[in-house]
Amino acid sequence: MELARVVGTVVATRKEPRLRGFKILLTQLASPEGSADGAAVVALDSVGAGVGELVLLVRGSSARLACELENFPVDAVILGIVDRVTAGGRTLFVKGQDDAAG
């Protein structure tokens, strides 16, 4: 999986019928410190994530294993909201204590 920052929402009126009712978010891949510094990825949200949050993103066919998305036409799903990232005894990120959080 990858760390990503939710940077916006994506609205599409005309879409594949199975995607109706799901929130589609615009994310940007992020560093362990939580800074958005990578590619933009459009992802289906399965955990109720919001703009500004650091999330866990799964891509490829594994994404369909999240929740009950079997056989859904998706290859990127947000499946976790990150509370904390630590490395070598140091705290790199804490939810709610960073500038980008909403």
């Binding site: 999986m1 891949l29 594994s62 994404a63 294993l65 799903v77 499946l79 909201i81 630590t86 070598g88």
Partner: protein, 87 residues
């Protein structure tokens, strides 16, 4: 599969139920000499790896098979702790 170094840990309380009870570790891909060689990823841990360990990770859909008898929604899993590499 590829070599990686465990560099940290990720905690997420709100997550897909299928990830419950599974440790999430930061892994940095490395080359055969142990030098950083790619973007840090978050892996599910199937071998009780620790920070600093050299491991190998499986990617893509195959990572979801890291735990026998269940499928986990993950595209990166630590499935081996490396003792030695020779070439």
């Amino acid at each position: 599969m590829r070599l990686a170094r465990v560099t940290g840990q990720v905690v997420a309380t709100q997550k897909d139920p299928k990830l419950e009870g599974i440790r999430l570790l930061l892994v940095e891909p490395v080359d055969e000499n142990g030098r950083a060689a790619g973007r840090t990823m978050v892996a599910i841990d199937a071998v009780q790896a620790r920070e600093g360990d050299l491991v190998y990770v499986v990617s893509a859909r195959e990572a979801s098979f890291a735990f026998a008898g269940r499928q986990v929604p993950s595209d990166c899993a630590i499935v081996g702790k490396v003792d030695a590499v020779s070439a």
